[in-house]
Amino acid sequence: MKLIKSLTIGMLILVLCLVSTSCTVNTPLSTVIPVSTPTPISGIEPPPIERNWISPAVVQVANFYPGATAEWAIQVHNGYSSAVDKYLVTTDPNEYSAWIHLKKILKEGNVANVIDILSTDKKDVATGEVLTAISYNASTNEIKIEGFKPDFARYLTIEYDHQSSTTYSVYYRNPDTLKAGYSAPPAGAQSWIIIADPSPVLAPYETREVMVTLMMPSKAVAPDKWSFWVGVTEKSNAGAGVAISIELCSTWLICMKGAN
């Protein structure tokens, strides 16, 4: 009984301590709970599911101040498109076929999912037939293509359906352009932004929330209104050739406390 009484008193003291502590912390929890799932608004629908997208396009933080924290989850959606790999393939004399390593996993391991094979030289066929994928090696993710002209070099483009996940990069980014009235981010602002998962790996058609946290040090200074971007790109595994990389950006607009 005495132990219970002591424990009860101890708990009361603990609760008092915790309440007292929470009252003196610089950044107590707000009752504002972010709702990070985009809700379609009149007539605005998400892009088709086979397309990559991010949301929201703009995040606005108001009444911000040194020592404060704000966070919001950015949604990253991985669509789907067939893979297109490019290779420089050189055949030896008397060589009519070649094993080619695919960069993504061939869907169902079935060469029927190879959509197209193109050579830079349209005369690049020994038999007068088209280049054809005839077999697949699952352990190496290679397809065997036959019909090549021997002793010849060409660039080869292979399009195929795949079942690979995609790795994205989510990162802080200095804005290229600024909204009217907003300044560039202050020096060191990059270290104030924490991306919970900077390299999410998404399956086809998957949507993932990535938390972005803005934590401004208590002694830092910033303009009244400033902005930064959060960029999202697909990590490239491009080989030969120049890749066109698509970067999708979410604009963060920060309005400091007391600013108009």
Binding site: V25, T27, P47, W53, S236, V242, C249
Partner: protein, 184 residues
């Protein structure tokens, strides 16, 4: 002393953090978001470089048939599609164009010496003189603020290489052209 020990015991049992306030959003701070999507796609996503003729202008697209001079729009046009139903702006940048493996084109040196240039323009430009040029500065902006409006969400842009000498071998440089999409 006994109470202190009991407090410590209670903390261990309840696994409470000591003196830490995990703030998701600090007091007085408000945060809102526009429930809009940013989504663009581009076709094609790579390009090759091929010899055109003695005019020393080289087409840059993922076609497998070499074009003839003068370039047509189809020789060097890429199509960007805004997949959403709200406007986006798109910036185009060229960066770090480097050499193709073991071939005649040495873009790294070329870019550094301004011998080669990547040019871009809006769809239908074709005339290289009217296209914007990117030289050796990585990340240099080529085109900015192309507006992709809802209801008119597909546009083309053109990329082409200019060089003072003619390449004798079809080649591929490596590097990246970045299309950055954002809310206007």
């Amino acid at each position: 002393m006994r109470y202190i020990l009991l407090i410590a015991l209670a903390l261990v049992i309840l696994q409470l953090p000591i003196g830490v306030a995990q703030a998701a959003i600090s007091a007085d701070v408000t945060i809102t978001a526009q429930p809009l999507w940013v989504s663009i796609s581009c076709a094609p996503l790579t390009f090759a470089i091929g010899t055109v003729d003695a005019s020393s202008v080289h087409w840059a697209k993922n076609d497998l048939i070499e074009p003839s001079w003068p370039l047509t729009e189809g020789n060097c046009t890429y199509v960007i599609t805004n997949n959403g139903l709200t406007n986006v702006d798109v910036d185009i940048r060229g960066a770090d164009l480097t050499a193709g493996a073991g071939k005649t084109l040495t873009m790294a040196a070329a870019i550094g010496e301004d011998l080669y240039a990547l040019k871009a323009g809006s769809s239908g430009t074709v005339n290289l003189a009217a296209m914007l040029q990117v030289n050796k500065v990585a990340g240099q902006e080529m085109i900015s603020n192309l507006d992709y409006h809802a209801g008119n969400n597909t546009q083309g842009f053109e990329l082409a290489f200019y060089a003072p000498t003619v390449f004798s071998f079809i080649d591929m440089a490596s590097g990246t052209i970045t299309l950055t999409a954002r809310e206007p």
